[in-house]
Symmetry: D2
């Protein structure tokens, strides 16, 4: 029975590699803690150097962003998210991140439900990011770097 | 405070119109009970005549389908969903519905979280359906038919 | 990897037994379609004869009730839920069901997230119902009746 | 329409007070970012001094804990959660936190869905914590300290 495989557990920071967010960027790095293959929630850290650019995207579900270091904003909103802040994004929202301030890098914790769609200026969908692409990118990086992958889709 | 607007309530079958699922089909009808603008969950009935076709689509989140009348299947799966069955669809799944059996119509209850993406044979995204398009279609139908719309995005 | 165990599937009405809702009632029956051991969502049918009583209870999460047959209400609310209606219950709500109308029984489909707490008149918690008690009741009934249990906690 | 009140926004660290977790402890402090009155999710920081004790509790839904400072564990599990780690707790789990290591305090970010039930040694429920008690504690603290409360239940 599946429920015998389910338990509360910890995932250490050090045990989880920083993975380049290819093919979008080699400067933006992702640390994959969890990718729920049933409900589609991913839990990740994102690290981006000052000046990195990320394209406009749409979210199918909610996003919680806790900013650990640095400051950033969406060009569609006036507010700036600094260290220690929480951004709550609602289903169906779309926006373009940009990094601001003097910090040399931005690090955020992201709890993302569902798909992230990259879009061009005419709202055509260019690419889909979700739990499946998270697993593919993580496992490809582990294989290329001789790291034994954890099962980031398991709950134990 | 928003929480003062929140209460448990009922939405009657009779008070909610059948809305054509335009522009995809005029034969397929949707009854909109709820469209959550925060988490992106929609609760709907779908009614399709025997022989109706619906294109391949992808879901960003989970889908629960309770079949009230008729039988249907996905061409990607062997199983058939008949009256009284529950289909549970996981995040990131994609499939093509087809209606089977002798019934003159199929009626299902659908609890859908997040986006439904219509795709062509090369997995290019043709259209996005979610809580926003639900509200737009429902409100446009109400306006065109002189019906006072309920707030299907509210929780009271 | 857990995600290799995940697939979209159907659960037939006929393959799933009606289980008495013991120790609360032998007249109220539950059909268990799904019990999510990660997020705590259960998908069930409930069948109660006219005149059955159920005690006051509190929900930690949302509840969606689709009424298939008969009519019922909560004594805390004026509205009545009849066939074809949707009731949406919000997190932290509490209420006392009662069955109304001429039908000999009430049948509902219930999508319940989290715990249901039975409470006495002073709001002391008497019992907790959730995905774990669902599994226990279902498996005990199957064992006592020589039925091979499905894994209602799996997603495939 | 409710959806006109919904928007993506930031909640600053500095704009949100530390609130004593009374009546359980005056040493443990909570910072309330969000309390969802529909789905029951709360987003908070918790700060506890070295040596603080917290009782055994049960969760109706999932919990995500990101540890910002210090180390802690559950006496029911062998693992220790240190800075930068993610703990993922599944629905229906119960455990007793204890703080470990040399740090003078522990600070965690907590995304909690549903109820937290405090229990005695015989699993009797002593108290319920959820989005409602979050709002009550936050608003009572604001009133007592002449702070204009934000609407932590809103999504804008």
């Amino acid at each position: 029975m599946f429920h015998h495989q389910v338990d509360t557990s910890v995932i250490d920071d050090a045990s989880t590699p920083w993975v380049p967010f290819s093919p979008y960027s080699n400067d933006v790095l992702i640390k994959y803690f969890k990718a729920d293959p049933v409900r589609g929630e991913t839990i990740t850290l994102l690290k981006a150097p000052a000046g990195a650019q990320m394209p406009k995207h749409h979210h199918s579900g909610t996003v919680i962003v806790y900013t650990i270091k640095g400051s950033w904003k969406y060009i569609e909103h006036d507010w700036v998210a600094g260290p220690g802040s929480i951004v709550f994004e609602t289903a169906g929202s779309a926006h373009t991140p940009t990094f601001v301030g003097d910090s040399d890098e931005v690090i955020t914790l992201n709890v993302v439900v569902g798909d992230l769609l990259y879009m061009d200026d005419n709202d055509n969908v260019l690419a889909i990011e979700n739990w499946k692409t998270a697993v593919q990118r993580y496992e490809a990086f582990c294989q290329a770097n001789d790291i034994a992958p954890r099962d980031i889709t398991a709950f134990n």
